[in-house]
Symmetry: C2
Subunit: 408 residues, 2 copies
């Protein structure tokens, strides 16, 4: 057994007080085996969504600084309760907020990035034999304000803390058994993968797989921190994320998994007079507002006008339109259209680098299943198609079959 | 209008997002009149009780440090939401946690006392024209842990901040119109008092009146901070708390109000061998556990054994018994009995100092209404009787009639 591990428990794993007591017993078992352990927790169940809903009852567009402060309470509640559960089982444990854990972030309040971790308090607790339980997803800015890391930020917190503590590994415990060849709720014969590369998990995460936040995977890759995704409900092995050269050979030569993402809204600026600097003029202000832009498509210009389409998270749609609409008027574009009911389906696999033919097979499978592809983007090891949300189940099942992902 | 006021909004006044938006408009009106204003807020409605209930589902005896951390989230949520509501009305506002507001406490995590306030951040916000909205009830220890001030701690926070800022006055906004001659829910013809002295409000608070926390009244008295208790639902004047010499003459010569308290549990150590130091031996460990002991009665010793009775808050009963029972065995006491269903009724009024006869009139009225008095304690301006909880309504109405408190 390694000397120090970080375990992160997600929202579904701590959704009720009974589940929190189960998590306490599981953390305690690691401690009993003589391994030092640090816990990182998410907010209970749907708490974050509930808090956002409360904020929206106060104002349609909550200010970031206060929204971050509001949301940060969710993880603090879980950390306090899990620590209580450990103490009641007879273990020394200490709940720490992001600030107490020394997590310093930049001042983008609701989508902050971790700048560094000053882990002296965590070390102090470990040195006394206590189990530190850290509220994930949050940190502290130089202005002494609370910032949150955005969705999936607890994964990032856990990996960052594992790196700061030089832990032996970071375990991400979830309500799923590991990384699957597709979402098992949509594809019943989806297969759990024993290994996956950082590169692949990163692409899956970017393509909408909820299994591990891309920033967490990136951090893990950069610092070589081994990450294990496994179930919080039983002790089965889960999926180990490794560097590509440590992958078993069988996994390297094919499409590994299908990802999908329904948190997609599309915006199209129609009929923009095509001048140099147009794309910069559109996307610089959006980036400045810390809105993540995903699939960008600019059609070939005809009659000197072009259309620019891109996607954002659905929660960012209103805010993005508020930025884009005046810009489009300035640029004398003809119109701005948008849709809040789009989705992405993607195939991911390191094998795609060396082998052609994947794209054609993907488009064929989607066409056969009756899916209309609205736009396409690719990376070295991923192909993503934008489709209508309603077609996601059909599309994912068709792709899983086409690439025979049920076969080991 | 004064230049700077602190307004504190209690849990019922911020129980829903609609109420929070009302509070925002009220705070904004003060700001519009050119008065600088600082808000201090409680947790929404029953949030604190709900959080305690969640903690109890995890462990029957939550550890203080983590319970404080858990409870502190309630006020942070309200501060964030009220600030959002102000911003959406077009006002600059900044939510501050107890730590950000510079509130330093001692390390008694769930019943902390404010040591001092370092108000530089509050000043910084005021100087930019923003309205600081502070999460009440909480502070920060030298160990960088979060502590909460115990029930009523938001009142104390508000008065302490008013003092630190040298505000012109501190307004406590509640779901009642001010201080009444008795609880209007029990006595329909109870009268609102326009003025009351610090001394009287202090005795009323100690006797169980929920209208202002005794520590808040004490702080106000010590530093001469004018406090106004008024409704959060309308702009009527409320009750102004003043020093005794500033009281209108009419109020000085009589019983002013009836208070009652049903959060009372009684413990009796039966048949203690009477030696010097017995009382110290019992109460020193209870005080060390930060449990407030109230009515203490030690009967005259006969045959060299005595009974010691005292009351504590009901939530402290289990914890107190756990301390008292081993002590009683060591002292060779015969038994420890307890009851969790006691109550106190009190008459309070500065006029009682100079005029005898109040006690007899009180005991007579209680006897006539069929109430059994279990024990009696008095201060200079208060007489308190311990009775059975079930008899509270009858007793309060009988006393209100006996002292003609419906008459102006």
């Amino acid at each position: 057994m390694p000397g120090l591990i970080v375990q992160k428990y997600g929202g579904s794993s701590v959704a009720t007080t009974d589940l929190i007591r189960n998590v306490a017993r599981r953390v305690a078992r690691v401690h009993d085996r003589g391994t030092r352990i640090v816990g990182v927790v998410s907010a209970m169940g749907d708490t974050t969504d509930d808090l956002i809903a409360v904020a929206k009852r106060v104002t349609s567009d909550p200010p970031d600084r206060e929204l971050a402060l509001l949301l940060s309470t969710g993880e603090v509640v879980t950390a306090a309760l899990l620590t209580m559960a450990l103490r009641t089982e007879g273990y020394e444990a200490t709940a720490l907020t992001g600030f107490q854990a020394g997590i310093r972030t930049n001042p983008v309040h609701t989508k902050a990035q971790i700048l560094d971790i000053e882990p002296s308090r965590i070390h102090r607790e470990l040195d006394t034999g206590a189990i530190p339980i850290i509220a994930g997803y949050q940190g502290w800015t130089d202005d002494q304000d609370i910032a949150v890391l955005g969705r999936g930020g607890s994964d990032t917190t856990a990996v960052a803390i594992a790196i700061a503590l030089e832990a032996d590994r970071c375990e991400i415990l979830k309500d799923v058994d590991g990384v699957f060849s597709a979402d098992p709720r949509i594809v019943p014969n989806a297969r759990k993968l024993d290994f996956i590369s950082y590169e692949e998990i990163l692409e899956l995460a970017r393509a909408g797989s909820q299994v591990l936040h891309p920033r967490a995977a990136e951090l893990g890759e950069t610092y070589g921190m081994p990450i294990v995704v496994r179930s919080s409900f039983h002790e089965a092995e889960g999926t180990t994320i490794v560097t590509g050269d440590k992958m078993p050979l069988e996994g390297r030569e094919r499409v590994r998994a299908i990802a999908h993402d329904t948190d997609v809204a599309r915006i199209t600026i129609v009929g923009v007079p095509d001048r140099p600097g147009i794309a910069y003029g559109v996307f610089a202000p959006i980036e400045a507002a810390a809105i993540s832009v995903d699939v960008i498509v600019q059609n070939v210009s005809h009659q000197n006008v072009t259309d620019i389409s891109f996607t954002v998270a659905r929660t960012d749609l209103t805010r993005t339109l508020r930025i884009v609409e005046p810009l489009a008027r300035e640029m004398q574009a003809q119109d701005v259209t948008s849709s809040g009911t789009m989705a992405k389906v993607s195939i991911v696999g390191s094998g795609m680098v060396a082998n052609p033919g994947y794209a054609a097979r993907m488009f064929g499978a989607l066409a056969e299943s009756g899916c209309n592809i609205i736009s396409i983007t690719t990376s070295e090891i991923r192909i993503t198609c934008l489709i209508d949300e309603a077609q996601v189940p059909v599309a994912v099942r068709a792709l899983h079959d086409a690439f025979r992902l049920d076969e080991a």
